[in-house]
């Protein structure tokens, strides 16, 4: 689905990378190139050099739902309902179809009660959930979540994970610092020093990280039982 070849952009350097459909967790230290890679996949930035295609198309030709890491930067409109409806309005969705779609996605996210709230009064975690709802309302081909769960409590993170398990998009790229979340993805890519160091199933990738803080906490507990 996602194919990168000889891709170079700022500190990022990828010789060859293929990411199939499903849920892919992107992990790695701060500054390792994760967000840069996600921005290229979303078409927010264009690569200085190399090829990046999604289902054979340029990233900007793909319907992508993007939830960035800074909650304040994700929200543009005054109320939560307007924020979630915005993408549908830009797509000229018929007006009578917008309200049910907005209510449905807010309900799925467990935040229907926030519908009439003004965005600037929301907490950081609530803003992250609203940004997810706005991305999901568009039924994207590619859903990109950049450390969205860093702002969520256990219950809210569980809601997000439940939604991801329903596969709301054919391809989901989730950058996370929660290794237990990454361990439940279909595949994991570990970035370090600007390039993917390990790619594979969670078992394959975490076998390289066994002696580090990045090994999933629940797997460590399971070893002691």
């Amino acid at each position: 689905m996602i194919y990168a070849h000889n891709l170079h952009h700022r500190s990022l350097g990828i010789d060859s990378l293929h990411i199939g459909q499903g849920h892919t967790a992107i992990i790695g230290p701060n500054g390792s190139g994760k967000t840069t890679f996600l921005k290229l996949c979303a078409g927010i930035e264009l690569p200085h050099h190399g090829t990046l295609t999604i289902s054979g198309k340029e990233p900007r030709a793909v319907h992508t739902g993007w939830v960035g890491e800074v909650p304040d930067n994700n929200l543009v409109f005054r109320t939560v309902a307007d924020e979630v409806a915005s993408g549908l309005r830009f797509r000229r969705t018929p007006a009578d179809a917008i309200e049910p779609a907005v209510s449905s996605v807010l309900s799925d996210m467990g935040i229907l009660h926030l519908s009439s709230r003004t965005s600037h009064t929301l907490s950081g975690g609530e803003k992250a959930l609203v940004a997810c709802a706005a991305a999901l309302a568009l039924s994207p081909e590619l859903l990109i979540l950049d450390e969205t769960d860093t702002h969520l409590d256990r219950k809210a993170a569980h809601i997000l994970e439940t939604i991801i398990r329903r596969r709301p998009a054919p391809c989901i790229l989730q950058c996370t610092q929660d290794m237990d979340t990454a361990a439940r993805a279909d595949r994991v890519i570990f970035f370090d020093d600007g390039c993917p160091q390990y790619t594979g199933t969670p078992e394959e990738v975490f076998s390289h990280l066994n002696e580090t803080e990045m090994y999933p906490s629940l797997w460590r507990i399971a070893r002691c039982i």
């Binding site: 701060n30 500054g31 800074v70 959930l129 610092q177 906490s217």
Partner: protein
């Protein structure tokens, strides 16, 4: 020494949070759901949010600071070296502690989110305070950096530290657990006695409790040690 919330009521429109309790010397962990008021309470304890009623009293706390959830809000220096100097800290040593060697001339706001958080926390914890209030200090940090922040907290250079967090994997040893529940701040008590009553405990800790383990503190290391002790 203490920082006391005395019959405090905080409100935004129809939303309210009540808090009545005393934060004494040690490391306090406060957890609660998204939107429960962690940031508002942290701000009130720091004196930058006016309560609707009640008061905050301080005894033996003259130097108090708040680390906000989003490190961008703290930036005052255009370049990284200016930012470090604004905290009255040596540039080279602070860059080394932040893992940002050679980045002194980078524009502060061009650092990645995690790098900026690292820089901010190194600067803040590098100063001397009687009380430090940390709002989501682990958000945006990678696992190694979360552990480094925990180590800095566990050094106990600052007598009173209050941490507001929903971190689920890397936590420091704590002395007291608090939770925000149904619009009120609730004290779960001292660690380790408070651990079984802690509803927002990380999954690794609840998993260890389910197995009958009795961790001495709240870190992953404490949970695995308690489990290993059971099998010895």
């Amino acid at each position: 020494m203490h920082l006391k919330a005395d019959k405090l009521i905080l409100s935004h429109g129809e939303w309210t949070l009540s808090a009545d309790g005393s934060f004494r010397k040690g490391v306090h962990l406060v957890t609660g759901p998204v939107g429960s008021g962690k940031t508002t309470l942290a701000s009130a304890l720091a004196g930058i949010f006016e309560p609707a009623s009640g008061q905050i009293t301080r005894e033996g706390v003259s130097r108090l600071t708040l680390s906000m959830q989003f490190p961008e809000y703290h930036v005052t220096g255009f370049l990284v070296k200016d930012e470090i100097r604004s905290w009255h800290l040596p540039v080279t040593e602070t860059l080394r502690k932040s893992g940002l060697e050679g980045r002194e001339n980078a524009k502060t706001l061009t650092l990645s989110r995690g790098e900026l958080k690292r820089l901010h926390l190194t600067c803040l914890l590098g100063n001397a305070w009687d009380a430090v209030i940390l709002d989501e200090p682990f958000a945006g940090l990678d696992c190694r950096e979360k552990r480094r922040v925990c180590t800095a907290i566990e050094e106990r250079k600052h007598p009173l530290i209050i941490i507001f967090t929903h971190e689920q994997a890397v936590l420091p040893a704590a002395d007291h657990i608090w939770e925000i529940e149904e619009g009120a701040l609730v004290c779960r008590g001292k660690v380790p006695e408070a651990i079984p009553a802690w509803k927002g405990a990380p999954r690794y800790l609840t998993r260890a409790l389910e197995e009958g383990a009795q961790p001495e503190n709240i870190r992953l290391h404490d949970a695995t040690e308690a489990l290993c002790r059971m099998h010895d």
